[in-house]
C-alpha cells in the first residue's frame, strides 16, 4: 500500500513518466473522470455551495492553508499553502516541473460538465500558492480573467473555450 500521506509523491513520479511520453493531458482527463465520483452530483445539485462543502472537507483532510468565499454568483479561492506541491518539493525524488498543471487539468473538465466557468491562476510552478475563480456568469468571470492578466499572472488556465458545452450543462444543472 502507498500510504495516502505519500500519494502525491507517487503522483509526481507518474507525472514525470507521462510527461516524458506526452501523456499528461489524457491522464488529467482520467483523473477528472475519477473525481466525478466525488464531485459531479454534489456540484450539479448544490453549485458553488457544493464546491464550498467539497473543498472545505479537502482543506481539513489535506491540511491546506486556504481561504474561500462565495460572493454572489462567483466563488473565489486562495490556496495560501498547497500541501500537495509542498510535499512534492519536500521530496528526495525530483519534483515534476509541471506538477501544478494537474489541478486545472482535472478541475476544468469537471467544471465544464457542471456548467461553470473556471479560472486557475498561479504565481509560479514551484511556489505552493495559487488562486481559483468559479462562476456561471461569463461576463463577470471574463472581466476577472482580464484583471488577472493585467496583474501579470503568467499562468492562467480556464475552460472558456468550452463555452457552448458550459452553457448547455448550466441549463441542465439549473433543471436539477
Amino acid at each position: 500500500m502507498i500510504p495516502s500521506d505519500h500519494f502525491v509523491r507517487f503522483y509526481n513520479e507518474v507525472f514525470k513518466f507521462l510527461d516524458a511520453r506526452n501523456g499528461l493531458e489524457d491522464y488529467y482527463l482520467e483523473i477528472s473522470r475519477h473525481q466525478e465520483h466525488h464531485c459531479l452530483k454534489h456540484f450539479m445539485e448544490k453549485g458553488l455551495q457544493g464546491m464550498e462543502e467539497y473543498w472545505g472537507q479537502i482543506r481539513v483532510e489535506e491540511n491546506c492553508i486556504m481561504s474561500s468565499e462565495v460572493v454572489g454568483d462567483v466563488r473565489y479561492s486562495h490556496m495560501k499553502k498547497c500541501p500537495s506541491l509542498s510535499k512534492v518539493l519536500d521530496n528526495d525524488a525530483e519534483p515534476c516541473e509541471k506538477y501544478c498543471l494537474h489541478c486545472p487539468g482535472w478541475v476544468a473538465p469537471l467544471m465544464t460538465k457542471c456548467g461553470f466557468y473556471y479560472i486557475k491562476y498561479l504565481r509560479a510552478l514551484d511556489v505552493p500558492e495559487c488562486g481559483s475563480v468559479f462562476s456561471d456568469n461569463l461576463e463577470k468571470i471574463s472581466a476577472i480573467r482580464q484583471n488577472l492578466k493585467r496583474d501579470g499572472f503568467k499562468y492562467i488556465f480556464d475552460n472558456f473555450d468550452q463555452r457552448e458545452e458550459v452553457e448547455v450543462n448550466k441549463q441542465e444543472r439549473l433543471k436539477v
Binding site: 500521506d5 509523491r9 507518474v14 483532510e61
Partner: protein, 147 residues
C-alpha cells in the same frame, strides 16, 4: 527517524486516485511501465529508507511500516528478526477505503506494495516479497540476502 513526517489530518480518498492511476498506466503503457514507476517511487521517493537499507540499517523501514499501517487504521502484525522483517496485513486500509467508496479494486492494487518495496531494496543486501493471502490480506517480507 522518518524522512517524511506525517502526523496531521489524513485524506484517504488518495487511495482512490492511486487505484485509478494504477489502471490508467497499466492500460495505456503496460504493466512493466507501471512496475517501473512504482519501483522508482520506492527507490527515489523513499531514498532515505533505501540508502539506509543499503548501509545495513533497517530502522526507517521498520518505522515506516509500523507508522503508516497504524496511522491508516490497519490490523497488522509486525515480526522482526535480525535477518527478516515480516508484516502481515489482515485488512489493507487502501482496499477497505476503495470498497467504502464503492470503487472497483484495481487488479494491480497489490503492485503498489510489491514494487515499492522492491524499489526500496534495489541494489541493497535486502530483498522483498509479497504473498497475497486473500483480498486485503497479505504478508510482506523483507529478507537479508545470503552472502
Amino acid at each position: 527517524m522518518l524522512r517524511y513526517q506525517e502526523n496531521n489530518q489524513l485524506h484517504r480518498d488518495f487511495h482512490g486516485t492511486t487505484n485509478t492511476t494504477l489502471d490508467y498506466i497499466a492500460d495505456n503503457y503496460g504493466v512493466d511501465a507501471l512496475k517501473s514507476i512504482l519501483q522508482d517511487t520506492g527507490e527515489k521517493v523513499y531514498k532515505s529508507i533505501h540508502d539506509k537499507l543499503a548501509a545495513g540499517d533497517a530502522s526507517e523501514l521498520l518505522e515506516h511500516l509500523n507508522w503508516f499501517y497504524f496511522r491508516e487504521g490497519a490490523k497488522y502484525q509486525l515480526t522482526v528478526e535480525p535477518d527478516e522483517i515480516k508484516l502481515e496485513v489482515f485488512e489493507c486500509p487502501a482496499i477497505r477505503h476503495l470498497k467504502k467508496m464503492g470503487l472497483p479494486v484495481s487488479k494491480h492494487a497489490c503492485l503498489q506494495t510489491s514494487e515499492v518495496n522492491a524499489g526500496m531494496c534495489k541494489n541493497t543486501q535486502w530483498e522483498s516479497s509479497v504473498e497475497v493471502i486473500g483480498e486485503g490480506h497479505c504478508i510482506q517480507t523483507f529478507r537479508k540476502k545470503e552472502c
